[in-house]
Amino acid sequence: MIGARRLALANFWVAITAFGVAAAMALMQALSRADLALPWRTPKMYYLSVTAHGVLMALIFTTFFIMGLGYVVTERSLDRPIKLRRVGWASFGLALLGTLLAAWAILWGKATVLYTFYPPLKAHPAFYIGAALLVIGSWGWSWVIIHTYLTWKRENPGARTPLPVHGYMTTIIVWILATIGVAAEVVLLLIPWSLGITEKIDPILARILFWWFGHPLVYFWLLPAYVIWYTMTPRIAGGKLFSDPLARLVFVLFILLSTPVGFHHQFLDPGVRAGWKFFHSFNTQWILFPSFVTAFTVIASFEVAGRLKGKKGWFDWLGALPWGNPAFSSVALSMIIFAIGGFGGAINAAYGMNAMIHNTAWVQGHFHLTVGTAVALSFMGIAYYLLPRLTGRELELSLLARIQPYLWFMGMLLFSVSNHLTGLAGMPRRIYQFDYGGSEIADQWVAGTGISALGGVLLFASALCFVAVMFGTGFAGKKAQPQPIEFAEPLETPNNKAQILDKFWIWVLIAVVLIMAAYAWPIGEHLATPRFGSRGYSPF
């Protein structure tokens, strides 16, 4: 049994609870956007709920789940106990305190600024302080994992870093490089401004710092999912990892490419020169490459699983995969969804086409495929695998667990495709209703929002199944001898090949140079230009 078990479980329970609450709010939103006359439906409730849903899903559920998974993966694949467990608990406490502060501000209607909190919309200081505590807590967690890894290295000179930890180290590096931006925004700009210490704020500077963080944030979500795809799912499927060095190459590429791309979220912002947008757009295109490689390697690993079961034809190995095991099916389905999301992403990243869909429902259609499914559904899948192993209980309600990934898949297809289409037809995201004074143009969105609401109902049902299985297992599951947590072996052991991929400091150094080129210069240029500031507004 692993030593950091309780620490990991504490993080998982916060994640699962946040997910459950946010899913309930999501149902309300999906119905509201379809203009169904629900009794408690008001603009104030709607925007409050979108804020809570975005924060709880994108920031709380993901971060806590990633921290919990990090403890399990590090301890199991290094086969040594986590160091500094007290720091781990303190970090958990800080992050939880931050979550509660921010949640209080949101639920009391004092922070309806959405999870992007663009000034000059101004929330209660508790919201920003809560966000800062969450980030500080995650830094503490990062330190625990890094310290454990370095200790292991000292104890095992010359040994190859296990791939799961390699993936987690890249996750942490990406996270630290990313959070520098948001920490600067929150601590230097937003907290003093919300406390009244400074009077004005520059909204474009805040947006630049936010998106310095906002894009690599998506890789902070995605990389742990990749760790699952590369190192856990092939094992669950009964196969082997097709190529270990390529997986390492993919992880390292994300260190380089995650951050110097943030302006692709600001294509339509004034005050940022086109040359910088072009530069970031150029960097962005490269990110397709590691994801293509991942698709090949992971699917090839599944094929190995089928072949090991004796399948010889072109496609019959697919049938030999454990589709009835939710720990496998959820990942396989989330990979299909991720492929669709990738096509949309290529469109978002091309600024000519971006102008058609920027801030429309297309965008919410897109990120529910990527973070909302590729990441979230993979996390749910691995939770089915891990929870019995961590709690020493059998999976309860396993029938619900079995159908849940399929329900999510169908719900998400309906939700996402319809939102892509209404977005192309011009429907904005983040709106309570779309009457626009009886506009006929807005009328063409009716069908799409209806289908989206139907998808939302299926998604909510699926989320309920997941939460029921989790709490059922955690608190009422039958005690059983826990099975071990295992990782996929590579077809060929990596030996000493491509050692350079494990020398993180080299990649961090290059990444820092790229970030300097992509941000230090434009930010310097921006600060040198005379600008006006904005006072805060709280129209909620």
Partner: protein
């Protein structure tokens, strides 16, 4: 590092796609000068309402037949409420906000920009189809965000002899 043959082929193909995307990006940027709207001009958000230009928002038809549209955005409306421009001429939009961040999106076209207090957004487009267009705010700006809209009417006018390009191509 030994890489499987099929995987090698796949990786080269992936690299090819990326290079293709980069080439089309570079070509449209440099060759055809298609750039995202990236105007850099500052304005004091507290002086917007008394500003000579933005305090009197509206449409001006220039000597060469092109139009300039000055728009003031605030919680929760655009001024002017109704914008009339001729068909087929270059239309330059200049926008700013008097309070929080807004969006300005002409539904069904790629006329789309953020409107940020302290900054002037500017982009030029043209409309090849006459008729009524819906303009919406597409950035959350408070509890009235979903009612923030305006109307664009493209008129078959004197200045609209030759039609330019496809519908509303932003340049």
């Amino acid at each position: 590092m030994k890489v499987d043959l099929y995987e090698k082929i796949w990786m080269w193909a992936a690299l090819g796609i990326v290079v293709l995307f980069l080439a089309s990006l570079g070509f449209s940027y440099i060759g055809r000068a298609i750039q995202p709207p990236s105007h850099v001009e500052m304005i004091d958000p507290e002086a917007v309402r008394t500003d000579e230009e933005f305090g009197n928002p509206g449409v001006t038809i220039n000597a060469d037949g092109s139009a300039t549209v000055v728009v003031q955005a605030f919680m929760f409306a655009f001024l002017p409420q109704e914008i009339r421009v001729p068909r087929g001429v270059p239309v330059t939009f200049r926008l700013t906000s008097a309070d929080v961040i807004h969006g300005f999106q002409i539904v069904g076209t790629n006329g789309n920009t953020m409107v940020v207090p302290g900054y002037v957004s500017q982009f030029t487009t043209s409309f090849s189809r006459a008729g009524e267009y819906l303009i919406v705010c597409n950035e959350y700006c408070g509890l009235g965000h979903h009612v923030m809209s305006a109307k664009l009417i493209v008129e078959e006018g004197a200045g609209s002899a030759g039609s330019v390009g496809e519908s509303g191509g932003v340049r």
